[in-house]
């Protein structure tokens, strides 16, 4: 740490997040390294270090001899300001070298609100923002993560993107890069070759034309790039790389624990859920594999908590066996086990009771909608009976803190559905009154709502988003309905950020300058409410000749060509259209185990058969 940086670190909050040196960090000898890879997370250290994808890729890229992957995070406001004032470029934690010392600068994008932070980090690292302003092979700027399924708003900034799971394709691209560097290829030649690797998207190799009304007319590949970029998956998930020696932060982060990924994908077909559609098909690890990985990781990190992670952990076939095995190991060592994303059913409640014998933290359920009619529309296979039954078991077992999550503005939602949320909350309260083990302790029921955001690659990708005014009207309606229920607290997320998120999620390439303008007017770390300012976006859209409502609130006709239709996440458009029609009929689609709906994801598997 040089003295100039040391002086800065003394002036800012929580400096430990800027210096690296944590246990298990990987340091290589630069003399043995020919590709330097900066893994950039466009959010704070505390968020980025909690991200499992980052741990996986950090580990797997560093397994490559001659390649050194280091971590870069976005500094908090006080530090960013100080660095800009002192003209200190953004650096990587392991070596302390500035971003411009790296060959490949890779961003992990899981959330649209991080886009302005990408520009900020590039700028703080003295890297030109646009791909066209980086003519050489050095400073190749790439991106991966959930957002790549529609990365069009950021298309002009990235040289290439990874669609789907990164473990294999990242390494293939790095190998190609190494060859290109060794043989002195120019950048266009490298990008043309990279575009031939399955899962690689080179935005610069596609021309997009628009109709006069602003909708997309055509997406045309050039230079031999594939018409559709097919996402990559790790087919054999049981033997897939798992980071059993992750970096252990020396300062507290958001998810400060071992996160054990039990399976990928989701058998549920909730029609609003992007992750549930873009991560198919389901692939699981065996319980014995998970046990081994979990123990190894606990031993290598010293963590006192282990979390089972997936999109819907209740759906893991070996859950009971896994929990028993883990408890046998964890109990005597004082290690606690946590199970998020459980469904409201008997089986899950049974597991919950076994796992949380000592400390009873709150229980969280996400019915998403207040009436059975609307839950059927969104294909959320949870009945009121399931939910109340789960609550009854919980209250009998001594829990007295239940959180219920809902969305407002779902397709076909009426005031009756909104009021249904209040009814459901009241029924949960009555269930507590009837069944609570100890009524003296009282009960806390929290209802939270956020605004529905239509996302690409879901059956609701064509839907409108309700306006903020309408969202607030529904919030008021619900507030009124819950007003006299003392034990129910109602929290609602403001819809300002949802408007921008919706616009970015379904945006096209013309939005690049909007993002730059918002960043130039001070936008960064915008997933943090203290740094988000809607006014910057409302100013930037018209200044760039665009209308935010065209992207956010507009309902699209099904025939319209969407900006992301060259991204093939393996779930077919036909399936999405069919699911949309079924939503309007209020027809449920069974989960993948109860009956295959032929979504198309099985085509990613060698045998073409998905085992759920």
């Amino acid at each position: 740490m040089n003295e100039k940086i040391d002086a800065l670190l003394r002036q800012v909050q929580r400096p430990a997040r800027y210096v690296g040196g944590e246990y298990n960090q990987i340091v290589k000898d630069k003399a043995d390294v020919d590709v330097r890879f900066a893994f950039c997370f466009p959010d704070t250290y505390e968020i980025g270090m909690s991200n499992l994808g980052m741990k996986i890729l950090y580990g797997t890229v560093n397994e490559m001899p001659g390649v050194w992957c280091e971590r870069v995070f976005a500094p908090w406001g006080d530090m960013a300001q100080a660095m800009r004032r002192e003209d200190i470029p953004l650096w990587a934690l392991e070596s302390g070298d500035a971003l411009d010392a790296f060959d490949i600068i890779a961003f992990s994008l899981g959330y649209e609100m991080a886009y302005t932070t990408v520009l900020d980090m590039l700028d703080m690292g003295h890297i030109p923002l646009r791909a066209k302003d980086r003519p050489g092979l050095k400073h190749l700027v790439v991106a991966g993560g959930g957002c790549i399924c529609n990365i069009e708003p950021m298309a002009e900034y990235f040289d290439l993107c990874f669609l789907g799971e990164g473990e294999d394709v990242d390494r293939e691209v790095i190998e190609l890069y190494r060859q290109a560097k060794r043989e002195g290829w120019d950048k266009p030649r490298f990008l043309r070759a990279a575009a031939q690797i399955e899962g690689v998207y080179v935005p610069g190799l596609y021309a997009v034309d628009y109709h006069a009304d602003g909708t997309v007319a055509a997406i045309t590949p050039t230079d031999g790039a594939p018409a559709k970029v097919r996402k990559r998956i790790v087919e054999d998930f049981d033997s897939a790389y798992f980071p059993t020696k992750p970096v252990v932060p020396s300062t507290e982060i958001v998810h400060d624990r071992v996160s054990l990924e039990v399976f990928r994908g989701c058998i549920r077909g909730c029609r609003f859920c992007q992750a549930g559609h873009t991560n198919r098909p389901v692939r699981s690890r065996k319980p014995e594999t998970l046990l081994r990985l979990g123990k190894e990781t606990l031993e290598n990190t010293g963590y006192q908590e282990l979390n089972l992670s997936s999109l819907s952990t209740s759906d893991y076939r070996g859950l009971s066996e896994l929990c028993d095995g883990l408890l046998d190991y964890c109990r005597p060592r004082g290690i606690s086990l946590s199970l998020p994303s459980l469904r409201a059913d008997n089986f899950s409640m049974d597991i919950m009771q076994r796992v949380q014998q000592v400390r009873k933290s709150g229980l969280t359920f996400a019915p998403e909608a207040g009436t059975q009619r609307l839950r059927d529309v969104i294909n959320k296979n949870v009945t009121e009976e399931d939910l109340l039954n789960s609550c009854r078991i919980a209250f009998e077992g001594g829990w007295n803190n239940v959180k219920l999550y809902f969305m407002l503005g779902l397709p076909t939602e009426t005031d009756e559905d909104v009021l249904g949320i209040a009814e459901l909350a009241k029924k949960v309260f009555w269930t507590w009154k009837q069944h609570a083990a100890n009524k003296a302790r009282g009960v806390r029921i929290t209802v939270s709502t956020s605004e529905f955001i239509p996302k690409p690659h879901t059956p609701f990708q064509w839907e409108e988003q309700i306006s903020r005014t309408e969202y607030l009207r529904r919030v008021d309606l619900l507030t009124g309905a819950l007003a006299r229920t003392k034990s129910v607290t109602y929290n609602w997320h403001d819809a300002e950020m949802s408007l921008v998120e919706a616009a970015l999620a379904r945006g096209d390439r013309r939005m690049g300058p909007v993002i730059e303008r918002v960043w130039r007017s001070g936008g960064r770390l915008e997933s943090w409410s203290e740094y988000f300012d809607l006014r910057r976006w409302l100013e930037a859209f018209p200044a760039c000749g665009l209308d935010i409502d065209f992207y956010a609130t507009r309902a699209r006709p099904v025939e319209e060509l969407q900006p992301w239709e060259h991204m093939d996440c393996a779930v077919s458009r036909r399936h999405l259209e069919r699911e949309r029609a079924r939503a309007y009929e209020g027809a449920l689609t069974p989960d993948c185990r109860a009956g295959c709906s032929g979504c198309g994801a099985a085509s990613l598997l060698k045998e073409g058969v998905c085992r759920g």
Partner: protein, 210 residues
């Protein structure tokens, strides 16, 4: 094994780790090394460890002390070597032994420091030679003014290339004066940049603290 003490150093990149984060880190170090710290009884058990004199973020130390208790029996002489590979960069276990006295007996600290972007050695020497030296500091009940002069046993300043070298012996507990507080006492005459390292700890009578 109860009432054990670990002497350790905290330097380099580890100086930015805060006291609370260090407690968490130390628990994980023991856990990684396969040693179980003893836990308190009760509804919300916590590891029985305490660090005698919390260090300010940014200050290095060659003489930190942590009291702890272990399940099982260990050769204490081997403990630093066993813990070593499990430490984050900048933290080094130096010595482990049964605590011969209470942590409260640690009374004096010898420190060295480097001051830049302020006055010269003669100024600092003159400033800290006078009495009283009044500093305002935030106490539980509002702002309090304290005289720190009695807690400064010695303060030597020498001009070196690019700054001033400080050698201090300060009272560390009841009353406490930290180098940061001394720098605050300088007000606008204080250096723009300073860093300190704790070198050695003593009891009230200036015999070494162990």
């Amino acid at each position: 094994m109860d009432k054990l003490r670990l002497k350790f150093a905290k330097t380099g990149r580890a100086v930015y780790i805060s006291h609370l984060d260090l407690m968490r880190t130390m628990q994980r170090v023991f856990s990684r090394a396969g040693m179980a710290l003893k836990y308190s009884e009760g509804f919300n058990p916590h590891a029985k460890i305490s660090i005698i004199l919390p260090l300010s973020v940014g200050t290095a130390s060659l003489c930190e002390y942590m009291d702890f208790a272990l399940e099982g029996e260990y050769d204490l002489k081997m403990l630093p070597e066993r813990l070593g590979p499990y430490m984050p960069e900048g933290i080094a276990a130096l010595e482990a032994y049964p605590a011969p006295c209470k942590g409260a007996e640690l009374r004096w600290l010898r420190l060295e420091g480097l001051l830049r972007g302020g006055r010269d050695a003669a100024f600092y020497t003159g400033f800290f030679a006078k009495s009283p030296i009044l500093v305002e500091h935030r106490a539980k009940r509002g702002v309090r003014t304290d005289d720190i002069a009695p807690a400064i046993r010695s303060a030597r300043f020498t001009d070196v290339e690019n700054g001033v070298r400080a050698e201090l012996v300060l009272h560390a507990q009841e009353p406490t004066v930290s180098p940061e507080l001394m720098m605050a006492a300088l007000g606008e005459n204080g250096p723009a940049y300073f860093r300190f390292t704790r070198l050695e700890a003593y009891k009230e009578d200036m015999t070494p603290f162990r």
